[in-house]
Symmetry: none
Subunit: 386 residues, 2 copies
DNA sequence: ACCCAGTTTGAATCTGCAC
DNA sequence: AGTGCAGATTCAAACTGGG
């Protein structure tokens, strides 16, 4: 694991400074303490992590369903079921305290460019979202998990509750968070991935059962959901922490996708089931893990290099797709049109009267009667340079 | 209007005691004060309503978007964002105060069995939802408006923000709120209506424009959305109040559906446009309240979903029927061949040197020695997703 | 009347590195 | 922290105009 935090284990959206990014191992976490389920209170355990050591948090906290009174105080004592408005306020207040505590601890553990996902339902997600914002998290998206096979509303008193909500938030407004745009686009047939994801509930062979055939965990999340989350917002080698580990879906998918992971779980039974489950997971090899490389991450090639390398001759006439404007290439890689001179981008913007222009895709040259974007020459040069 | 609050104007879900339910006229509101747009501050106007006089509140409050500078599309055209003064707040605390004030006033105005809808985005909806709960409202559903034609994310930095969230809440836990289960089921091809509604944005002839062709209101809601809300949660003759009336969609649909209505609006321009709009609306006759059934399209299944769902493993070798070309599946659903990488369609086209290719029928995989087109897996998945 | 190609537009927290 | 600039980035629908 000597390459933790290097290579693919870095942000893919910028391409800059990959060697400078620290992996978990450089941030006070050793191999032996990673890829494990730790039993205990998630708030204490989160507080025990080195500040800034975590790249991604995925959290599936208790939903505070006001049905069975399964509500826990920060000290893990159980709150009794309550009826009237005063007690309900007490109820929410205690849920809010708990939420604030674990979110604040998670925020401290996150690196500056790390991000956090929380999943919830209308019972708790509004409180979680508001507290997130109060703590300085910067919401990037709310994402809807649209269940293709939800439980119907048996009594016919409400709409079928057919979705859950995920919030994706960066540590701060200025964060340079990881978003693997191209991978998400690839996953969605070359269309931008939207904020609504249609996925089925976790059923069938994926659902963990005990010896008597009872489900091990009441709210086991489908692996497809975590697949999308981890692929979108982390890179191989980065550290993913799940403070409410449960049946270990986050760990199973993290292992498969080559991410480092840590799971916190209070209940020994869940922890044991998760360990057993994850031990069976086969990690993908580097080739399968390789995804579409974002153009932003490709090495920068100045236009002048094409001239220098003889891929384009000084004096060559360039034109835009509509052939309304032309410009000539000069020896230093600058362009000159009838009224403007400067870089391919500057002249492209100037002739159009636009505020900006990507000269690589705007300017074309004539190759045997066909208009070819100069970006094609750049790709050729890149291939030559490996 | 002597039958206000009787007959159809009663809850349909219980069937009990219809004659005892009061209509607006019995609760201190006269005909002359109804079905009107009132200009002024919504909090004061809500406070001025007799307690318990309102059957349904629909609210589309400012979202507090906190937009930065200007945003350009890839073609350099400028996005016409929400820059109106009414959407600007100093900070979360002042937005929260505003929200608490209008929600508290709305709650007092609501009858005990009345309910409230609020629409918002991730910028504000979590704060609204938490405050709702703090005030004693009882959330019945959160409903997702899934936009069929959302604005893309132009910079590729996030998921396409393709939905908005509505919260539907009763005045209290014990409320006997109106829910027209059968109407909703009928609207949905005799299936229970789910909590996610797919509807297009308000465009075309429905969108109000001024003399210069500019949109009258930055955020006009589609009538189809209000149609569903009013049909679900109110009965003819009941009173619907919209404290952020804007372009008057709530009033237009309420009039058409035979509901009484009241709209509060601070801006005189909006109020005038709404009055003009609603004057043109023809109320439906009792028999016409039958609705058009929405058409259901076959769901699109991107190839990546097969990978995500475990129907095809990353690393799987694909080949064409003639077995001249092969390619490998990667974790994000893209393919890689010896010379090309991209979507199933792109790589299929590239290896053949063809301009286009249907990857679904071109690529096959080996199942027990037999070549099976990947389209078969798609059909399998589609069947699982209805 | 229809078709096709090009243009416009929508509640948007929308760049990142070098100097 | 501020400035300059390379260069990356869009989907569904409705509308417009010419043939």
């Amino acid at each position: 694991m000597s390459d933790l935090g290097k290579g693919r284990g870095t942000r893919s959206t910028t391409g800059g400074r990959p060697a400078l990014r620290k992996g978990p191992a450089q941030r006070g976490l050793t191999d032996v303490s990673l890829d494990r389920v730790v039993e205990g209170d998630c708030i204490e355990l989160l507080r025990g992590l080195p500040a800034g050591s975590v790249d991604l948090v995925f959290a599936d906290p208790p939903y505070n369903l006001q049905l069975g009174g399964e509500l826990l105080r920060p000290n893990n004592s159980r709150v009794d079921g309550v009826e009237d408005a005063w007690d309900r306020f007490d109820d929410f207040a205690s849920y809010d305290r708990f939420t604030r505590d674990w979110l604040a601890a998670a925020r401290d553990a996150l690196s500056d460019d790390g991000s956090l996902w929380v999943i919830g339902s209308y019972h708790n997600i509004f409180r979680v979202g508001a507290i997130l914002q109060d703590l300085g998290f910067w919401i990037l998206n709310d994402v809807i998990w649209r269940k293709s096979n939800p439980m119907p509303n048996f009594r016919g008193k409400r709409f079928t509750n057919a979705h859950e909500t995920l919030i994706w938030a960066a540590k701060s407004k200025d964060s340079r968070y990881v978003f693997n745009y191209e991978s998400m686009k690839a996953l969605n047939d070359d269309l931008q991935m939207r904020s609504d994801w249609t996925l089925p509930l976790c059923t069938g062979g994926e659902r963990l059962k005990d010896a008597e055939g009872r489900k091990v965990h009441a709210t086991q999340k489908p692996e497809a959901l975590l697949w999308r989350v981890l692929l979108a917002a982390s890179n191989p080698g980065q550290l993913v922490v799940d403070p409410f580990f449960g049946s270990g879906t986050t760990g199973a998918v993290a292992k498969r996708l080559g991410r480092r992971w840590l799971g916190f779980e209070r209940e020994a039974d869940y922890a044991a089931a998760a360990r057993k489950r994850i031990a069976r997971v086969q990690p993908l090899g580097p080739e399968e893990l390789e995804t579409i490389r974002p153009r932003r991450a490709e090495p920068r090639i100045p236009f002048g290099w094409l001239v220098e390398r003889g891929l384009i001759e000084p004096g060559t006439q360039l034109f835009d797709p509509s052939r309304r404007w032309t410009a000539k290439v000069r020896a230093d890689g600058s362009l000159i049109s009838s009224e403007h001179r400067g870089s391919i981008h500057q002249v492209g913007a100037a002739v159009q009267g636009a505020p900006a222009c990507n000269g690589w895709t705007f300017w074309h040259l004539d190759v045997e009667g066909r208009a070819v974007p100069i970006d094609l020459l750049r790709q050729k040069l890149r291939a030559e340079m490996h």
